[in-house]
């Protein structure tokens, strides 16, 4: 059976098992009424969990979902679980925006072939951050293509590893075949301010899209 016992966390994710409940400092106020989400995507080892952890007010947690290759999941007649099921884990963090609004950041697993099977992950998401490593640009092509197909707005954040070759932004745009409007920012996924600026770049981009939509 492909279903993974919890003792064997041999799948690809970068986080650690979390505590059994939120600590005192992790509690949301009772006034919290609504939440929004942003999805952080990118190849394995590009720094998604580091990015999420740097801006999150809680230690990143891991959630998981079981899914079948056919995408039928638990909706199979009678809930019968088949051999094609896979468990996909995602690390996520949280930022309280104000007393009422909470932003959640989900780092999707490296196996891009799985993450669009997770129905609902991108539904209702504000947008996505595509984290890229200039040493391995090719792993981003598939992700970018799928986001474009789905119409998910995204910004590209180049995680500046010390040993990464630095590219001119316009060269990167050409290499990644990105439309001129899509923002490309460089970041240090370890730094809170840097991660915040990436999220702000996404929000400003969304504002510009909203404005453009209102003008049409």
């Amino acid at each position: 059976m492909d279903y993974r016992g919890s003792e064997h966390r041999d799948f690809e994710h970068e986080g650690a098992p979390g505590p059994a409940g939120p600590g005192q400092n992790d509690l949301l106020p009772d006034t919290a009424t609504a939440a929004v989400k942003v999805v952080v995507v990118g190849g394995f080892g590009v720094g998604k969990t580091t990015f999420v952890g740097a801006v999150s007010e809680i230690r990143p947690l891991t959630t998981e979902e079981t899914m079948t290759q056919a995408g039928a999941g638990v909706d199979d007649p009678g809930g019968v679980r088949t051999k094609t099921e896979t468990t996909v884990a995602m690390d996520f963090g949280r930022i309280s925006i104000d007393d009422q609004l909470v932003l959640y950041l989900f780092g999707t697993p490296g196996q891009e072939r799985f993450w669009f099977l997770w129905g609902g992950l991108f539904e209702g998401a504000l947008g996505a951050v595509v984290l890229v490593d200039t040493r391995r640009l090719e792993v981003s092509f598939d992700v970018l293509g799928r986001l474009e197909e789905r119409g998910v707005p995204f910004v590209v954040a180049v995680n500046a590893f010390p040993e990464s070759p630095s590219y001119d932004v316009e060269d990167l745009r050409t290499a990644l075949d990105l439309p001129p409007a899509v923002p490309i920012v460089t970041c240090d996924a370890r730094a809170r301010e840097s991660g915040r600026d990436v999220l702000l770049a996404l929000m400003h981009y969304l504002q510009s899209l909203t404005t453009a939509l209102e003008l049409t």
């Binding site: 009424t33 929004v36 930022i95 925006i97 504000l126 504002q207």
Partner: protein, 125 residues
């Protein structure tokens, strides 16, 4: 990694999270249609405490959600797949034991007011 078990809110006193076990705690039911109203970032707030008849997983949810907590966080703390949490939540919702808030509906693009709120919040980070 057996140290993952044994927490007070742990869903798995028998040390095995086999599909059969997940099947049992959801009563073998597929997620109900209410699932569509429950998102990963819906905030769950308990309206009542667990009573002695509350099944252990539902009781754990009620204890966790004394303060608002997202479905993703509930799934992470209980170490249960999101789809299983959704089935349990649909039951709790039916009984009025929890309130589910949000998420903010996003049609094509988020509205201006929401984006401004997020930008202001991020700038305070």
């Amino acid at each position: 990694m057996s140290d993952q078990h044994g927490g007070p809110a742990g869903p798995d006193p028998w040390g095995e999270e086999t599909p059969e076990r997940l099947y049992v705690i959801t009563g073998g039911r597929p997620a109900s249609t209410k699932r569509s109203a429950i998102d990963l970032v819906s905030l769950v707030v308990a309206q009542v405490g667990p009573d002695p008849m509350t099944p252990p997983e539902q009781a754990a949810i009620l204890r966790l959600c004394r303060s608002p907590l997202s479905v993703a966080e509930v799934s992470a703390y209980l170490r249960l797949p999101v789809s299983v949490v959704n089935v349990l939540l649909a039951d709790l919702l039916d009984r009025g034991s929890v309130q589910v808030r949000g998420p903010v509906p996003i049609a094509v693009l988020p509205d201006r007011e929401l984006l401004e709120a997020v930008i202001n919040g991020l700038q305070r980070l």
